[in-house]
Amino acid sequence: MATPTTSLPGVTQLASGPDEKGYFTLNLGPTHPATHGIFQNILKMDGEIVVDAEQTVGYIHRAFEKIAERRPLYQITTLTDRLNYCSSPLNNMGWHMTVEKLIDLEVPRRAKLLRVIIMELSRIADHLICDSIIGADTGALTGFMYVMEWREYIYEIFESVCGARLTTNIGRVGGLERNFTPDTWAKLDRFLKDFPKAFEEFDGLLARNRIFMDRTMGVGPISGERALAYGFTGPNLRAAGVDYDVRVAHPYSLYEEFDFIVPVGTAGATYDRFMVRQEEIRQSVSIIRQALVKLKDEDPSVYRAEAPEWVLPPKEAVYSAMEPLIHHFKIVMGETEVPVRQIYHSIEAGNGELGFYLFSDGGRTPARLHFRRPCFIYYQAYPEMIRGALLSDAIVTMSSLNIIAGELDA
């Protein structure tokens, strides 16, 4: 019989039961194969049932907000890459839109549509990882292996635009760094042709699978009111029944012209989160198709706004003409005029509302930059969601929340 312990030194007193049974303390993490990231949970267990949990985060705290106070605005993109690193392009585009809001720059229509394609591809990649990992945590490793191949296709598309696979640093202030090449269009067409069928196969593996449904239905539930009280946004909130999507509530980058459904769950449990993400993948594919139709009317050479004070000009121009040389000097030495403003911009990232609160004091670097990170905010609700559940349910709940450690700690 385990020694009854109700507290560990240094750990806040976990909830005590009325009849003070012999609970034992189980340490889950920080390095644990089932926690997809580095965060620690100290669980108080009554046999197999979780009575209470306490979390310790910060094992990958990289001081993004402090680094951002030392970087010029166009260099902060590399930091935003590493927030939710499964969907870096979403974070990058959110940051570029924040800077464009700061300097009141109008982005050309075609650049916005190209951005929508990149952002939706990134959302597909993020949801694919999350859903296949939910499957892997219930034992279905095949889905994971199958689905990673499609992430490779998406990586190839990103590579042809920006050169990198994962932490993309994609886009520039005002648009993209280079136009989509014919190679990019070919890869995108192949992806749109082959992916839906493979995705339906992956869906058929898990969505109506008796074992998966038994493992995930009603597991880790949270009601809509509690989710709102805890600041949930994104697929986790939509699974609880609240249809808040930043793309619909505060549209950006031409999302108001697209026709898509915002899927909503009912019970806020793991199965709902899984199904909401699956449907969002289908909606993202539909959005990309609509964007391709809209792009037919646009001038194919436009991919960026003219923002010579913010984007480095091409080297041939710098070495031959006067204006690009001056702009290059101003950008590198930090002589660009930056407005003094305090702005907030948010986008619908893979996990919810990713917000950037930028305090600019006219200097080269921000006076204060705060990332409103959805993972950090909704992970607080985890003990409430697993109280009374089995240990394996706790694991599946954690993976269905899609906690990305980079966004948790920043």
Partner: protein
């Protein structure tokens, strides 16, 4: 006599292996029959065995972990090197792959995990953050895991492509294959560990 197959496949008679003779595709020259023998050093044989089934312990912290997941997946398969079985317990692992940023809060945990891995053990530091702190030269990030544990191979990149990670893994395999059996008891190894405060 012999084993009877429970399933009779028409057209394929079940081979009674208990009565089979030595299966060899080539007839040996007269006077040279038998099993044959092979001479090598114990180092080489053990090295070959070690490199052929090295079990990695994942220490996937951040972005490099996702690239490692891509390396382990079907496209850049890790199974062809015998490494698809990820050991989650340090006691059963051979290769500690540190992938991602290690913060100072996590340093003691990493050292504890390293000390729990049974000999022989190798360490692969994947990514710029694990090798030297990467782009995060901050108060909270450990500037390279070689401040707390000895490292065998460093893989640079942010994140490194799966091909680069495989290159690093193959270099670790090379080290494992050519390592002397006495290396773990040698003075240079114990002094190296002593430098880190590990017995």
């Amino acid at each position: 006599m012999g084993i009877k197959s429970p399933i009779e496949i028409p057209g394929q008679p079940f081979q009674q292996l208990s009565e089979a003779k030595t299966l060899s595709p080539v007839e040996p020259p007269p006077g040279y029959g038998g099993e044959g023998w092979f001479a090598t050093t114990l180092d080489a044989a053990v090295g070959l065995a070690r490199k052929g089934s090295m079990w990695p312990l994942l220490y996937a912290t951040s972005c490099c972990g996702i690239e490692f997941m891509a390396t382990a997946a079907a496209h850049y398969d890790l199974g062809r090197f015998g490494m698809e079985r990820f050991s989650n317990s340090p006691r059963q692992a051979d290769l500690l792959m540190v992938m991602g940023t290690i913060s100072k809060k996590l340093g003691p945990v990493l050292k504890q995990v390293y000390e729990q891995i049974a000999e022989p053990r190798w360490v692969l530091s994947v990514g710029a953050c694990a090798s030297s702190g990467g782009i995060f030269d901050t108060y909270s990030v450990l500037q390279g895991i070689d401040r707390v544990i000895p490292v065998d191979v460093y893989v640079p990149g942010c994140p490194p492509r799966p091909e680069q990670i495989l290159d690093g893994i193959l270099r670790v395999h090379y080290i494992a294959k050519h390592e002397s059996l006495r290396h773990r008891d040698s003075k240079e190894y114990t002094s190296r560990l002593g430098h880190y405060g590990i017995e």
